[in-house]
Symmetry: D2
Subunit: 151 residues, 4 copies
Amino acid sequence: MPADPYFVDVAVRWSDMDAYGHVNNVAFVRLLEDARVYALRDWFGQDRDLIDDGLLVVRQEIDYLAPLTFDYRPARITMGCSRISGASFDIGYAVGRPEGDVTYAVAEVTLVAYDLQRSTPRRLTETERAQLCAIAGDPAPLRSRGTRAPR
Amino acid sequence: MPADPYFVDVAVRWSDMDAYGHVNNVAFVRLLEDARVYALRDWFGQDRDLIDDGLLVVRQEIDYLAPLTFDYRPARITMGCSRISGASFDIGYAVGRPEGDVTYAVAEVTLVAYDLQRSTPRRLTETERAQLCAIAGDPAPLRSRGTRAPR
Amino acid sequence: MPADPYFVDVAVRWSDMDAYGHVNNVAFVRLLEDARVYALRDWFGQDRDLIDDGLLVVRQEIDYLAPLTFDYRPARITMGCSRISGASFDIGYAVGRPEGDVTYAVAEVTLVAYDLQRSTPRRLTETERAQLCAIAGDPAPLRSRGTRAPR
Amino acid sequence: MPADPYFVDVAVRWSDMDAYGHVNNVAFVRLLEDARVYALRDWFGQDRDLIDDGLLVVRQEIDYLAPLTFDYRPARITMGCSRISGASFDIGYAVGRPEGDVTYAVAEVTLVAYDLQRSTPRRLTETERAQLCAIAGDPAPLRSRGTRAPR
């Protein structure tokens, strides 16, 4: 991770909690999407319209580390790009709070640049690659990598 | 996988589609939860109340293989148990349709048996372990295992 | 209501419950949408594609009468058309269960036939009007109509 | 409405859009809930825990006036209390944007103060009534009241 990792604060909804009274495991994945939508605007510019120039999620992996409860505060989603190839890249995520040092989840998502008109993957542009390099980060410390003690 | 793999058909909602007109990546994870809720009733009996006797999702990994569109038909979620330890187990998933041989996604979820009263993991009972053995299956063919050609 | 009112059974998801342990008030509105999607196929035929030939919800009103809990059973949504005009119609809803005589909610939704290409309302066709007449029903017994004792 | 109506800005999620590319009609109702959760903290204090001291939605009515699209900006939900009785009250809503004068929806929600332990409605306290009076507003200009030209 660089000295100042990139993050987005996204709103947690009361309805993200399930009958257990915790933010539901699926709602965590929604928070990742939410953060990504804002991040992609920052990284690739407001002129890029997600609807017209698609990015497809082809893979995601998430480790849940601590229960998260709605308490009016946003979630702070820290993100870094840990891999870039011709048409795809990996984003590592950590879900925390603006204050406090609890990490509630870590995740990794593989995205493919996609030409929605032609229904086919497309190469990342030079500008896109430069932007992704600017937020380069370490691979997410997922349990499947052995980087955390198994629970 | 055994000769007759276990599956649950779950309803896809029109609202599971996003502005791309495809079932959203997060909605896929919801379908997995939905299937799990029905499967746990089958496996562990109706007397087990998910609210009182919790199972926590501690990890999930999903590969998206083909776009899924709402077309009134349910999704067929095939499931098998690929690992059992003292307090946790892995379920492998494949998302298809009742007819047709397209696999839209494969996934693996790690669940921990949890005592919600004491807020602590608990050991799986003998009965639970026997049930999970009865639906034993191979590990999900995830890209991260190298079991599929990378996209 | 006619002798045999029209109904659709739609799946309730465990995640439709909120932290109170009841099906959330917003999830009820989702169940109405879900039922409508299936009903419109029955009424207007499979050749009508909801994406291409839009129907816009311009108004909805819902009274919640009893708490609904996830218990694996679907919700039975009974529907009838209580008003037809040139471009719009009202559908009355009652939310129950396949067995049992509890009504959990009653609702009314006003829909406008919409030409998505031209972004303008369009007249209902003769065939559409005939279909709607075939499922004619009384106005929903909403509290705002004074047809139920106020709570 | 008082000179300075009360409002809350709530985040719209990209996923609130449906396959039509507009914020889904059900997602609008979610935005109302979201605004209410924050408003109740403002009105009744942070010590009141929504989980412990419940407020049940017993009725809601919403008119959709203009399509809303995700564009990174929050929705501005303006709220006023238009009726108070012993155990219940009505909140009127208008859904807009922080800038711009388009009203996308107006709504009215009836809430009942509820004792979750005893599963019974409870009387509003003096403090609660005073707070609600402080944000008193006109009834929502719903179509069913004839206060808008029917569409």
